[in-house]
Every structure is written in structure tokens, then in C-alpha cells.
Amino acid sequence: MSPRPGFVLDVDRSTPPTLFWHGERFSLETLPVGSRVIYAPEPIEPLADPSAAIRAALLDPVGDRDPLPALLFPGMTLTIAFDDISLPLPPMERPDIRQLVIEQVLDLAAAAGVDDVELIVALALHRRMTEPELRHAIGDRIYDAFAPHGLLTQHDAEDPDALVHLGLTDEGEDVEINRRAAESDLLVYVNINLVAMDGGHKSVATGLASYKSLRHHHNPQTMQRSRSFMDQHRSELHSANWRMGRLIADSGVTVFQIETTLNNDTFPGAFQFLQKREWEWKARDRMGYLATSKALDRTPPRYARQIFQSVKSPHRMTSVQAGEVEAVHALTTDHVWAQQGVVVQGQTDILTMGLPYISPYNVNSILNPILVACLGLGYLFNMYRGKPLVREGGVLIMTHPTPWEFNPVHHPSYIDFFEQVLSETTDPVEVADRFEESFATDPWYIHLYRTGHAYHGVHPFYMWYWCAHALQHLGGVVIVGGDPAAVHRLGFRAASTLADALEMAQDVVGPSPTLTHLHAPPILMADVQ
């Protein structure tokens, strides 16, 4: 039986309560009659033989690019860059796609007599990955072959000797990327394209870039002009990356792009009810919900977090394409939409969403308040094509505990950003103008980024810029069940129940509002007509 497409449910009196994520917990909420609930498509069939598909993609690339074996020769320098810990979400069960792809690239390189091979984690300004995380991503065999010899490195955007400035785009944007990657005879980039934003020229132009380069598109103005950044053709973020990517290509950097897509089979057995439609829950699902909810209610947040951090997703590969960047990415985007796209008729006054425990920037960490904002207003709000799900001036209601809590190892500059910047202003433009440079050049943050496992000092600014389009568009944001102090610091309103939040929202949008609930994860993209 083929998987069913996405679905928009009209809530009536017989509709059972709807599942809302609430961090490491969830609840069942009764939505007003007439509300809509958007469900993701069911997981599409994965590739039957991923290894064979990878091999086929490497041997039969798309676009103006020779098959990989033809690009490999003895004495050449080969660099393989790959996506970092932020992908996929949640981390997938072993073997990770990166391992499967890189193993085959290395086999071909070995067969061609290539012996100058280095692997680079394309982490941009993200935190460095730990050894267990790297082993999970690329497998023990690759790790043990490369890491002890210094041939597996993590991109360092603050090492001037490891960067090379390739020039300026037509718009005057600096293009400065990893020197080893730029100066190799061939750069292979291995992507996991979880959402439509991932991949394309963004892989190299962002993943291997420096702050000097990133600041040209990671800023409030770019994000406000990206409607949305999940829609490449209406995304200024992508336009900038494409300009940079083309300059990189024109500079003589040969990129062999490999992109992969996943189905949205997101949660393993015990949590399968999380990705089912509530009216189709069977006794086992209801038992699973009850048992999990009760257990989590009795579990201190710290341990609940550990439980969820141990969850490995069963999602499987649905496509792999390789070759020239733009040709590859066009195919990839189609595959992403095939899995995630849902047609939705019209906008809504109030958009609700339950925020889960994880975002791209808190894998094995805490979803701090800034990341809560980014997950809701940055990511989920932007999961649209056409128009935002919520109308201009509408209200976004999110459910999440939003604790005033940070991981000091991963997010040191977030703490200062939250305490010292958001206490003065929440306007992304003012935030950028007044504070960005001092955080970006702070020697302590740079030290922690380069030597520890800290996100770069400027990273919380990017998270706030990610919210810029939503902040400009929305009439209000309410967080249900959040720490009031933390919620207020974000500039949002706190409500203790969904009913209270709906009343507060009506103060903004007026009586008898329309309401739509985004039932994610699993990830979905709304094609708003």
C-alpha cells in the first residue's frame, strides 16, 4: 500500500484531542471545532538498496560533472566534506548515511590510487563534534583510519591560515572558505538534506565559510527578505549562497556534490504514536501515549532529556543524487517536497505548534530559550511555500516549557546574549547593529569555539535573525507552559494553558479566529495556496 499524502483535518465534535509536543513531554489538547490540523505525509518507501543507489549516483552524476572515478587520479588532493551534528534530526540509527556515502567515495579513491585524502566536518560556526558523535556519523572504520593521523578535521572558521579568500561576488560579498577544501583538486561534499533549505551551494558557501563570509547573508535583512528560506526561489539566503557558490566554481574549485534525502519515519517503535494521526491510534498507541506520558511526568527534566537524546531515528534514505551542485539540488528539492509537502488552502489567524525537545543546534544538549524561539519562529514558521500559514498580524502559539537553562559548554555566548542583549532589545536589526560585532570577535568565545565544543560567539545572533521574518510578520507570540521570565525576556507572552493562550490571541486577532495546528514533527512543508 502506498503511503498516504499529507492531510489537513477539519476538527469537528468527533475529533479526538490532538497531540502537542511540549519539550520532553506532550499533551493531548482539544482544539475548537472548525480548527484545522495539518499532518505530514506518511513515510515514503525508502530505497531498497541504498548502497547500490549511492554507487549508481557516483557513477552516473547529473549536470555538467564527470562520473566520480573519472575525477580521481593518483597524486591528486581529495577533500571530503560532510554535514555536521545538526543533521539529521533526530540523529539516525546506524549506519548513518554519511558513513554509507563516504565509504563508497573512499573505495573509489583507493581504487584510483588517490592517497592524499582528508575529511572535514563542515560545521561553519557550529560546535565541534565529539568523538562519539563523529564515530556515529561516519563509522568506526573511517574514523580510525583518518582521525589518528590528523586527516579528519573540523572546519575552523577562525583559523586564518586555514582559510582562503576567493574574492567578492557581484554584490560585494566576501567569499572566504576552508583553504584545504578550496585548494584540493576535488571537493566532494556529502549532504543529508533533511529540509528544503539544506544543500545546494549553501553546503560549501556556508558550511565551509568564515564569519567574514557568512555575515553577508546571516543577517536580519536577508532573513526578512527570505519568504521563506525553505523556498529557494524566494529566499535571499539562497540567492546570496548561489552567488557565492558560483564564484567558488568560477575560482576553479571543483565540487562533486552528493545529496541524500530521508523519509520522515522519525520515531522508533515505542514512540511511533507520535507520528500517527490521533483518530487512527490503536490500543497499542493509546497505551504507548499513556505509559510514556505518565513516566515522563514523573521523570525530572534532566533525565527526560537524556531519554530523548538517546532516541535514534529510523528514517531511511529515499534518494541520492550526485554531480554538479545546481543540477543535484534541483532533484533533491523535488524529493524533499515529495516527502514533506502538504497543500493547505489559505492562511489562518492563529497558528499553533507543539515544540519538541530538539532543534538543529541542541543535539545532545539543551533547547535553551533562544533555540525555542528559533525552532518555532525560525524553522517551523518558515516551513511554507507561497504564503506563511498564519496571516500577517496573526498570532503564533507554541507549547514548550522554555526553561531559563543553557548548556554552558555548547552555548556560552547564548547565555550572555540572553542576559545582556535581549534584556535591552529584541529587535533583530538593533541587535545586529549594536551587539553583533563585539560577540563575533570576543576572544573567549573564539577560544571556546576553536578548542571546545561551543557554538561561535555570533551564533545566537543568527538564531535570532532566523526569527526576523516571523517577528516582522506576526502580531503576537504566546508560549504555553513556558517559564514566564524566560518567555518575557524573549519578548513573548506566557500562558499557562492553551485555552488561556487562545483568549490572549483573540485580543490581537479579534473574536472567532481561524486556527490551524501544525502537527510536527514529523517535518512537513505547507504549500499555502
Binding site: 542576559e419 545582556q420 576572544p443 573567549w444
Partner: protein, 414 residues
């Protein structure tokens, strides 16, 4: 007259100490403090004048004494029984003479500089400290014509401010209050003088980053003193760690550039100084830190955020604290006390640069900053248990300075 009298009673002393575990000031009713009828103190000599208290503040050192948390260091500098109250504005019903030898008419309001050094003790010649104006450092506070007592409010012979009668004030202690001052302004002069002394003796330089730990009365007065006396000639950045919202608001209005919660102060200083962090301490940091709390935690915090060769000034009265001094040794820090007041001309001020006494300077700071606003509640003496409990929980209850109102009113609790 009615007075609150602190008696030497070990059983009640122990009871207060136990009760203070529940919160500072909670043991006032069962401790060694009692409300008694009594006679006014005899004037110890010809230069003494009766001063009728109008308002008298409850200080952190008073609370420490009442709670039994004071350092035993002070045991020999106190004589029992005594009437507490060293933050006093009163009225000279019979007139008097002030510290500079000026006659004061009957009815003049005055504040007292409570240190009981050589002059009030009739010790001649003056000790080296008193002879140079540094009366706070006088070593004769247990000798001479008076019983032991480092200040009015700890000496059995002088009485104290927590009384509806009078206390004995020596001419060297008296400072007339400007006509424009409210009593609330005036009662803030003594704690402000402590802050003035601390601010002027800290060696703050042009462009320095200055951190203030704590924003109770002393912390806020220190911010005001820095803003009024230091910044006009040596612009500096003042960063404050304040626990409560009202304290943060006041610190900002008194001139602080940055006001954060205490646990955020080190991070804010680090950001301002562009410092790295090593062994839990800033490699660069504040040039001067004023510790206006005096606890193990506050001293540790201050030492962690001061730059190498920087200065930590203890403004709040510390007791026995536990602090790792390795960083002090390794980073060549200066840890210095700032007690009371005196002559400031040997500090940061030149002799010709206006007033010289901390008290006179404090009067100017109180006026310029409007520090009378820090008086949050006034209680009649009969409600001393409530008053002391309020003072002990001042921050939590949205207050700063709690005072006794001795003006035959019923007090006003804001």
C-alpha cells in the same frame, strides 16, 4: 524614655542566632534586644550635647549583631548594655557645637558621625589616625572616658538612635543637616559616608571598569558616590550585580551603566573587559570591585572578576568568611577594607578640592542623588520586631532602608 536595649544575655543571644537561621532579623523578639523604659544617658563631659533622634536606620551590621552573626573580633569594642542605632538624624533641643567648632542653635537638626575615637573619649594627645582625620581607624575605641564601643550605638555610655529619648553626642560627631533635607535624606548620610569613603579610597582611574557586588543600601550608595564624585573627573564604567528588581531599577537610576543579577555579573564584566576565563576567573576583568555584601560568596565572586593587580574593596561588613586566596596571591590582587569615614584629602581628593570629611561629601551625594528615596519603611519603636524582620528581608520585600521613626508618629510602612 523608651529605648531598645541590647543586653549581654547568652541564652537570648543563642536563641536569636538559632532564629536567624529562618532569616535575618527573625530573632528580634527572643534575642537580647528588649524595649525598656529608662533614663537618658548622662552627658560624659562638657563637649557633649543631648540629641533627640528623629529617624534611626537599621544597618546590616545591626542585623548581624542581633542575629549573633557578628565577628567575635568586635567583642572587646562593645560595652553592655547598649542602645543600638548609629545611623541617626536628630534634633539638638538645647543647641550645641559641631565638628568644626561652629555653634548650632537649639532645634538644629544634625546627623552624627558615630565613631567614638580619641576626641569623644577625651584622649590627648590624639592617636596618629585621629590626628590625621582618620577617626575610623582609631585604636582607642575601648579606652579613655567612655566604655568600650567603636561607635555610638555600641557603647553603654552614649546611648543610641533606637530611642525615643536622647543620646549623647560629642561635638566632634555633629554635622548640621541642610534645611532642604528631609529627615529621610538626613538618615541616609551615615551609610552614604561609608560609600563615599570606599569610592574615594579605591583608586578608580579614568576608563576603569568598576563592579559593585550587591545593591542594598551600601551598594546603591556606592553607585551614587561613584557617579557623583568619581565620574565627573574620571569617567568609568559601573556594573552592578543586584538580586531584586527594585534594586536593579534604583542602581540604573543612580548611574550604573549595566545592572544584572549577581550570578550574571561576572559574565557581564567578562564581556565588557573582553576577557578569557581561566580556572573560573577572568584573565582580564574589572579594575576595581566593591563588595557590598561581605559574605564568602560575594568575596569569592569579587576575586573572580577583578583583573590581575586589581583591587577588591570590602564595603559591606564581613564576618568570618572562607575564601581561596591562591588567586589573590597569584594575580597580585589587593583586598582592602573600607570602614566608616574620615578625612578624604589624603585619598583621591586634593586638600583644596572642596569638603574634606566623608560626611560633608556624603551630604552632597545624598542631595544630588536624592538618596532619601532609599528609605522604604519607617516603624515606631514599639513595632521593633516587625521593623527588624522587615530590614532582614528588605530586598525580598522590595525595600532598601528600614528605619525607626522616633518623631512620635506611628511610622509609615511603604
Amino acid at each position: 524614655m523608651k529605648s531598645l536595649v541590647f543586653e549581654r544575655n547568652l541564652a537570648r543571644f543563642a536563641a536569636a542566632r538559632v532564629a536567624s537561621v529562618l532569616g535575618s532579623g527573625r530573632g528580634a523578639g527572643i534575642g537580647p534586644l528588649r524595649l525598656l523604659e529608662g533614663d537618658p544617658p548622662e552627658l560624659p563631659g562638657p563637649d557633649w550635647f543631648p540629641l533627640r533622634p528623629l529617624l534611626s536606620g537599621i544597618c546590616g551590621s545591626d542585623l548581624a549583631t542581633l542575629d549573633g552573626r557578628s565577628s567575635r573580633y568586635f567583642e572587646d569594642m562593645v560595652s553592655f548594655p547598649f542602645v543600638p542605632g548609629h545611623e541617626v538624624v536628630g534634633q539638638l533641643d538645647e543647641g550645641g557645637v559641631d565638628h568644626a567648632g561652629r555653634a548650632l542653635e537649639a532645634g538644629t537638626r544634625a546627623v552624627i558621625e558615630p565613631v567614638l575615637g580619641c576626641a569623644p573619649r577625651n584622649i590627648r594627645p590624639l592617636c596618629p589616625e585621629c590626628s590625621t582625620g582618620h577617626t575610623g581607624l582609631c585604636g582607642n575605641v575601648a579606652f579613655g572616658d567612655l566604655g568600650p564601643g567603636l561607635q555610638t550605638g555600641y557603647c553603654t555610655d552614649t546611648g543610641g538612635g533606637w530611642s525615643t529619648g536622647v543620646l549623647a553626642a560629642h561635638a566632634s560627631q555633629l554635622h548640621a543637616v541642610p534645611e532642604s533635607f528631609t529627615d529621610e535624606d538626613a538618615v541616609m548620610v551615615e551609610p552614604t559616608a561609608c560609600a563615599v569613603h570606599a569610592a574615594l579610597s579605591a583608586g578608580v582611574a579614568d576608563g576603569d571598569v568598576v563592579a559593585v557586588v550587591g545593591a542594598g543600601t551600601l551598594g546603591l550608595a556606592t553607585v551614587a558616590a561613584l557617579h557623583q564624585l568619581i565620574r565627573p573627573t574620571r569617567p568609568c564604567t559601573v556594573m552592578v550585580g543586584a538580586r531584586y528588581a527594585h534594586q536593579r531599577e534604583l542602581a540604573g537610576s543612580l548611574g550604573a551603566d549595566t545592572v544584572v543579577a549577581p550570578d550574571q555579573l561576572a559574565r557581564a564584566v567578562r564581556r565588557r573587559a573582553g576577557s578569557l576565563v581561566l580556572a573560573g576567573r577572568l584573565t582580564e576583568g574589572a579594575d576595581v570591585v566593591f563588595d557590598c555584601v561581605g559574605s564568602s560568596e560575594s568575596v569569592t565572586l569579587a576575586l573572580s572578576m577583578v583583573r590581575p593587580r586589581g583591587r577588591v574593596v570590602l564595603v559591606g561588613m564581613p564576618g568570618r568568611v572562607s575564601v581561596d586566596l591562591a588567586p589573590l596571591w597569584h594575580r597580585e590582587l589587593t583586598l582592602v577594607g573600607a570602614y566608616a569615614y574620615g578625612d578624604e584629602s589624603s585619598g583621591d581628593r586634593s586638600p583644596d578640592d572642596g569638603p574634606r570629611r566623608s560626611f560633608d561629601l556624603a551630604i552632597g551625594v545624598v542631595e544630588a542623588a536624592g538618596l532619601g528615596q532609599l528609605v522604604s519603611a519607617a516603624y515606631p519603636l514599639e513595632r521593633y520586631e516587625e521593623a527588624i524582620a522587615h530590614a532582614g528581608a528588605a530586598g525580598r520585600r522590595g525595600a532598601v532602608k528600614v528605619v525607626f521613626d522616633l518623631r512620635q508618629s506611628k511610622g509609615t510602612v511603604r
